[in-house]
């Protein structure tokens, strides 16, 4: 069975928010749209976004890391938001595991969002229904697009290609390999929701310098006589010992 998902590589995410607005622009005019914005030009502008980039600081100066952390619906394998929905508006597709909301069935009770530990759902204050990441379901199967474009908008936009997209149930897929080989992990594993989206941790490259590497065999200073040889008439042990 297919389970489509994103694998987000925190090792390369620079927090540019390209995924945030490319998601918004695709989806506001797509099957999930429109995505409302309130006070777009006033105080405290707020709107429906399926994807946001957050920033965390880890550790204390000077040993601190800045972590950019994009977060959208994780398309859980066992999504707690689905069974609680009274109308069946919230559902998980059998064919590809995408968790979706059927806007025509949603009564806007927000209960599904309470049941999501990740805060991944967003209520549309205009239509009064729940909305969420669709993994761009209206893109990825659109045969009128070239194959390279048939991926979620955020994935296509990401300048650091920090967002991988594919079937995590296919062990040979790029995403499965990444999870396997680069330490992919799930968020809040304690709840047993089995999120499909995974995150790849920071990986550090270090350079070990051995003391002897600092001595240079072909040191150019020798050519320029900066490592002078002692004077020929200087006294040496040669002159005084006679083994």
């Amino acid at each position: 069975m297919t389970q489509l998902a994103l694998v987000i590589d925190l090792n390369v995410c620079v927090g540019c928010s390209a995924c945030v607005t490319s998601c918004k622009e695709w989806n506001t005019s797509g099957s999930a749209g429109p995505l409302v914005d309130q006070n777009p030009y006033g105080a405290n502008p707020t709107g429906t976004f399926f994807n946001r980039v957050q920033t965390y600081e880890i550790g204390q100066f000077p040993h601190s890391e800045t972590l950019h952390f994009p977060k959208s619906c994780l398309h859980c394998e066992d999504p707690p938001c689905v069974p609680v929905c009274p109308t069946g508006a919230s559902y998980k597709r059998k064919e590809d595991g995408i968790v979706l909301v059927d806007y025509d069935k949603c009564i806007g009770c927000k209960y599904c969002s309470w049941a999501c530990p990740y805060g991944a759902r967003e209520f549309d204050e205009n239509q009064k229904i729940m909305k969420k990441c669709t993994l761009c379901v209206d893109r990825i199967y659109d045969m009128s697009m070239p194959e390279t474009d048939r991926k979620p908008s955020c994935v296509k936009a990401c300048p650091t290609s920090a967002r991988l997209f594919g079937d995590i149930h296919d062990p040979e897929s790029e995403v499965s390999q990444a999870i396997r080989e680069d330490g992919g992990y799930a968020l809040m594993p304690e709840w047993g929701t089995h999120p499909s989206n995974h995150y790849l941790p920071r990986r550090k490259t270090k350079l070990k310098i051995h003391a002897d590497e600092l001595e240079r065999a072909d040191n150019p200073l020798k050519l320029d006589q900066q490592l002078p040889k002692p004077d020929k008439d200087q006294s040496t042990m040669d002159d005084v010992s006679a083994w």
């Binding site: 976004f49 946001r52 600081e57 009274p86 025509d104």
Partner: protein, 325 residues
């Protein structure tokens, strides 16, 4: 969580309605066995009318919990479809079902439609009202369970995810309903007020104990989710610097009560006093004229309790929404 006033009114109103119905039918059952003098059909009938009225008010409040009130007509019917998995769906079935039974029970009394069904070996006649009463009692409990389980089933809302939530809903609804029954009886059947008041004292006391038990439990809860598990980084010192939205979002509106910690701290003793201590004192004084005060004060207390119930619940999603930056 942000306390939703629609839900606060819904749960407190129907809780009182369920309690009132249970009280009425308890009385009828006692009377059946001759433990209490049987009252007129009007007593039970008008009593259940009050219960029904409260249920209607509750339902009205619930409309405002929908995205748009119009969804009540266009879409809400779908809410019964997912009863296999959704406690809310079950509630949506149980509530009208209970309302229907209360309605029929009242109508049967008021119109004295009491065809005999069966006569017990002790000679007691089981008529339609009794059958409806038993059904109503079962449905009242089913409804209590459904309502409470909506909250108690959410395993990561740990303040709610406990059997105490169900017990509290039953006992607080019962307490409020029995006090209301006592108040009702004090005018329409003054002799019976004591019966209701007595049970009210017992249930209120139990509710008090149970609610305090849940407070104690919640105070000892250690969060299962932390920033470390939320973002998957192992370090004792992690702070959020930006949640990714500066003007707020659904996530900052729906899951935070928006009041100060001091306000939250003040609400706790207030609701304990209003919902439990004062009603118990007033009931203990055994003065019919104070029963009204007891009910009203307690109802205010229960509103506060329900507000606190939501406000205290700390959603793990909040870990992701700490800092505007």
């Amino acid at each position: 969580m942000k306390p939703a006033f629609s839900v606060i009114f819904l749960t407190t109103l129907i809780g009182a309605a369920q309690g009132l119905f249970l009280a009425l039918f308890t009385h009828q059952s006692y009377a059946l066995f001759g433990l209490l003098p049987m009252q007129s059909d009007d007593f039970y009938g008008y009593g259940s009318a009050i219960s029904f009225l409260l249920l209607c008010l509750g339902l009205f409040a619930a409309v405002f919990h929908l995205g748009k009130p119009s969804y009540m007509i266009t879409r809400a019917w779908r809410g019964i479809l997912q009863w296999r998995t959704s406690w809310m769906s079950r509630e949506l079935i149980a509530l009208p079902a209970f309302m229907g039974i209360v309605f029929l029970y009242g109508v049967a009394h008021l119109l004295t439609i009491r065809p005999e069904i069966v006569t017990l070996p002790g000679g007691q006649v089981v008529d339609l009202t009794l059958l409806l009463g038993v059904g109503g009692t079962v449905m009242a409990f089913v409804l209590f369970i459904c309502t409470a389980m909506i909250y108690a089933c959410l395993r990561f809302l740990r303040e709610w995810h406990t059997p105490l939530t169900v017990i509290n809903y039953i006992l607080m609804g019962g307490s409020s309903g029995f006090i209301l029954a006592a108040l009702y009886a004090s005018s329409s059947a003054p002799d019976e007020a004591g019966f209701f008041a007595g049970w009210a004292i017992i249930i209120t006391l139990l509710a008090f104990i149970s609610r305090v038990a849940s407070l104690v439990r919640n105070a000892r809860l250690k969060p299962k989710s932390t920033l470390q598990t939320a973002i998957g980084v192992k370090h004792p010192h992690i702070v959020q610097r930006s949640m990714g939205a500066m003007g707020g979002s659904f996530n900052t509106r729906e899951y935070f009560h928006g009041r100060t910690a001091a306000f939250l701290r003040a609400v706790k003793p207030a609701f304990l006093l209003l919902a439990f201590v004062l009603p118990l004192l007033l009931l203990a004084l055994d003065t019919p004229t104070l029963l009204g005060a007891a009910f009203i004060l307690q109802y205010l207390g229960l509103l506060a309790e329900r507000w606190f119930f939501f406000a205290q619940a700390n959603h793990p999603q909040n870990l992701y929404y700490q800092t505007v930056g």
